[in-house]
Symmetry: none
Subunit: 209 residues, 4 copies
DNA sequence: GATGAATGAGTCTTCATTCAT
DNA sequence: GATGAATGAAGACTCATTCAT
């Protein structure tokens, strides 16, 4: 019908919008987008549910907003690492630390990004999948450059390896979230980082084959 | 009330039940459990939706059935590999081949198991999470045994490594499903298997650190 | 999403559908389509409102069904009159009688057809206006033929006259509905018919100009 | 509570109020009162929707204002014609010209008056129907006087004839609005006026019966 | 066993209206 | 006066589930 701008020019409006996004991130992480009612989001945000529709056209648009505003930051960091004048090992160390650290600090956001964005047919179908996959690019670049500089084995398929690296990160973080990989002290995370780095760089074998 | 027999051991009944499970696997894979209507499953199975309730108490029970009947097979194979008198390398090769092969052949089933069982708060909350995590055990055992026999680096944390291994498998298979890792010819899968095996065993680095 | 056929193969289903249409006709006549809640229709039909959606995709589709199933009958009668080997005067008498009689007997249906179909921008925009205007054709034909046979003044614009004739019918019937033209006894309707026929044939003037 | 002044007699205030009324007339004509949102009116008027409530207590009050301010003018003209020392024929000519002309110039206003005032149960129920029907009076008077002076057939029922006259006017104008009676040049309207006048005065028949 | 009509709780979404700024 | 953020009642629509046939 008519095109409501789905407002937000004022400071208060922007703040409310932000609160809704944060609330949505929390509940999406717990119950998934499908399992979340708009009323849950509103309640968590402490606003009337009608207000959600003042800021977003519908539930999916909130997810899109989370994606639009957070994914770019995520990719930006990956790109930053890819652009640093560091050794391949150093770069991987940064990435591993970043993943572990981010998951610890922004668990809900990472959960949503993984489950509702990266994994969701629904999301991927209604959005430009390219926008999601740009996160893979800097990592592929890091690996490809490492290969060119001789730091990565020459036979490595950079693209496939990228999936492997991201898979490792995702599953371990999922273990944290689900609680099947419980980590109570700070040191545990540091040890995990070392472990993961070693795994990614040197694999499991005691001696190269 | 809740003592309706639900499933019947008739020949036809069993076949219908199986068709419903297969249909559910397909649509669950496409739209997720939440996004799937019982009518979708019935339509896909070519039966009236009311009939679904002759065989299953409700929608979730279909998912539970998929889990109960398929997960056990999956774990059984992992256990079989863990019990084979093979080298660590050989065992890992079997696993990698199994994952790639299974995903190729039973894409929907793997998708459902990953997205709706392994990842789902809902499922994990209403079921014994232990039943899910048993799939991790044989792999952890393979790694631990490999470490004991000196085939795996002594410093490897078997549990964390298990997550890493499964993460690699899952993400690559997700790439297949989403189509972002397109593989048209048979050889591509074989090459991927070799790549993944090398990555898991030897890591990315050109030289061990 | 998936295309629910919006059922009705069984006898009971068809009967229910019919009851819903009749109930909708009543409430649409009283409150208009916009002012009617699906729950009102269901209540009037004595069914759960969910059932309405078993038979119709939405509220508008009920109106479309009323139109589709009733308008054709209405036009069919007009066509019948147009096809009768009668004088112009006789034909007009039949039409006037038909309008008055139908309105008396099927007040709600006529009200809905006039207010929600003939007059509604919403309806006319979402349907083929031609399907509505076919009701004008037989009348225009009657007038044109009357003109050719010398029974209607040669200067009459058949199309414009058709609008005038239908306007007379509609407004008088509206007066009946609104109650501003109260008619309690049978004779009143008969007198009105005579009046209207005289008006349409001879106009208001005491002497032709 | 309900004693908010609502309207303010400031210069700017009055202008805004007028703009809102004009905007409302336009959108009411397109979508009907029910189908119109206050936000639509405000948007069309180029003001914030909250401002509408500075001038009107609610949406219906805008319609009431349209009625109050325009209907009186309309009736006033009819009364003026009824009071003119003219022949019946002349008076009818004035009326027909007025209707055609007004509809041409103020299409939206006429549409709203016909559909949302004259026809609306809602409106007629919440207002004094008498206030609406006063528009019928001068016409009835014109006809009655014509009859007394011998210019109108003695057998004519003035009240019924009034409905017929207004029905003719309304339907033809509806044809203009809907576009099913397209009139591109000025002459067409003039010809229609002549046609309608002849129809009303002399009817369709070639010879009086 | 099989069908699909029927039910109604659960949600999404709209939008009139209020009110702080 | 003017704005648009905020509220929440109202209603449309979906769909899991029951049950008569």
């Amino acid at each position: 019908m008519s095109s409501r701008p789905v407002a937000r020019p004022t400071r208060r409006g922007a703040a409310t919008r932000e609160r809704i996004i944060e609330a949505a991130t929390e509940v999406f992480a717990r119950r998934g987008v499908h399992g979340t009612r708009v009323a849950d989001i509103a309640e968590r945000a402490g606003v009337a549910y009608g207000l959600v529709y003042h800021h977003f056209r519908n539930k999916e648009e909130i997810l899109s907003a989370i994606f639009a505003e957070r994914w770019a930051q995520y990719v930006a960091y990956l790109e930053e690492v890819a652009g640093m004048p560091l050794s391949f090992r150093e770069r991987m160390a940064r990435l591993v630390h970043f993943w572990v650290e981010t998951y610890r600090v922004e668990t809900d956001l990472m959960t949503v990004m993984i489950n509702e964005i990266t994994r969701s047919y629904e999301f991927l179908e209604s959005h430009d999948i390219t926008a999601v996959l740009v996160a893979f690019d800097p990592i592929e670049r890091i690996i490809a450059e490492g290969r060119e500089s001789g730091q990565v084995r020459a036979t490595v398929d950079a693209r496939l390896a990228t999936y492997a690296v991201l898979g490792v990160a995702e599953m371990v973080l999922t273990g944290y979230v689900i609680g099947s990989l419980p980590r109570s002290d700070q040191g545990a995370y540091a040890r995990d980082e070392a472990q993961l780095l070693a795994l990614l760089l040197d694999g499991l074998s005691a001696s190269p084959s």
